[in-house]
């Protein structure tokens, strides 16, 4: 079967799978960013308990693979009485995983803001919370955006794993179609191209645009 015939026949399923992948991506991204901010700030805190909690979280989620975390959340957590549906388990696992890596980026971004900014904010008597929110974080944001671009691609790739707990994303649909038709080259090839398009022509340009917009806001452009 030629690739065009293949697409003509199977595009609805692939499209639906892509939709689920995109949904997983967004939800995991939102969760991941929130966790990164929280953990990044906690790791910088003077409070030893907060710092310890952040370090523990980061080391656990960076030291084990996403797959293990996914299985754990889906298979083991129910034994503790926490029962989650597979769709939620999917993006929660990916989000929590990304959050651990993102935390380091947040921390690095904040530490890269020059000391003089902290002092100037103190000199106009800002509270630590306001200082972080209005002065430090905006500047940290610009510095951390480039590596965040890479992380977002990793996030997209990570969503493919949710197919292993039967979430009907693009990866899952591809496997299903392969299982019944054995048109491996066509289906897996198409899936690869779709992921590539999402990464190269959606995620990356968006992150670059974000970088430029932030740089302009800082007057760096």
């Amino acid at each position: 079967m030629t690739i065009l015939d293949f697409l003509a026949q199977y595009w609805p399923r692939l499209l639906s799978g892509t939709g689920v992948t995109i949904a997983q991506f967004f939800l995991a991204a939102v969760l991941g960013i929130a966790i990164s901010l929280a953990m990044g700030l906690m790791k910088l805190s003077q409070n030893r308990v907060l710092r310890g909690a952040a370090i523990t979280y980061i080391e656990i989620f960076r030291g084990t693979s996403l797959l293990v975390q996914l299985y754990w959340i889906f298979f083991v957590l129910p034994l503790f009485g926490v029962s989650i549906d597979k769709f939620t388990a999917g993006y929660v696992a990916v989000g929590m995983n990304i959050g651990a890596y993102g935390a380091e980026l947040v921390r690095g971004g904040i530490l890269s803001v020059p000391r003089g900014q902290w002092e100037a904010a103190l000199a106009i008597n800002m509270s630590p919370a306001r200082r972080m929110w209005r002065i430090i974080l905006p500047q940290a944001l610009v510095n951390m955006l480039p590596p965040w671009g890479n992380l977002m691609i990793e996030l997209l790739k990570g969503t493919a794993l949710v197919s292993l707990i039967s979430v009907a994303d693009l990866m899952f649909q591809a496997k299903q179609i392969n299982g019944s038709t054995f048109l491996s080259a066509q289906v897996f090839g198409t899936a690869l191209v779709i992921y590539y398009i999402l990464a190269r022509f959606l995620v990356t340009p968006f992150m670059r645009w974000l970088e430029r917009a932030m740089a302009r806001k800082l007057g760096k452009v």
């Binding site: 656990i60 030291g63 298979f75 790739k157 197919s163 292993l164 591809a174 392969n178 992921y195 990464a199």
Partner: protein, 221 residues
Amino acid sequence: MFDWKWDFVWEILPRLLVATGNTLLAAGAGYAIALVLGLVFALAQRTPYWALTFVVREFVEFIRSTPLLLQIFFVFYVGPQFGLRLSPWTSGMIAIGLHYACYLSEVYRGGIESVPRGQWEAATALNMTITQKYRRVIIPQAIPTALSGMGNYLVGILKDTPMLSVIGVAELIHVANAIGSEHYRFLEPITMVGIIFLAISLPAAGLIRLLEGRVRRKLGL
């Protein structure tokens, strides 16, 4: 709910440890492939033949932007269609080796590009051939910079070996799942997998940092 059975843990530990051995083997073999292939890709992007550079560049970007899981399926299922009879182990190695070769090629490129222009010029002034320049002058200086990236990906490849379970490679997660299905108990196997991963990756990360420090000092940086 939370009834952790230690007897069960001791019972399954031998199988898990054997699987761990397989995992380490897979990671090691994959990394070895990636180390060599990555260098090839990196150097191929620095040739004056723009067609070659372009093709390799696009290929590397494509592999880096798409999920490893999908690539594993592709190699495993599509290989036979091109006449390659590949065992799960072999397809797994090819896919992982290729994927990480692309990551490492970026790390190598970063290292090479960090070597100051003056070094190239000095090498030319001494009338060295291209091979000599790379071997004696550039690569020795590129390595310290590249080392931290290389170390990170070593830990990364370890954590990605569970993906091979989907094509039947008897690594850790695969065995854990099997145990779980056989005994109807997932809590201990999957938790143990998490612990084993932490037990490997955290010291590994520490060792890598130590090694980095040593190499830096030895090269007088």
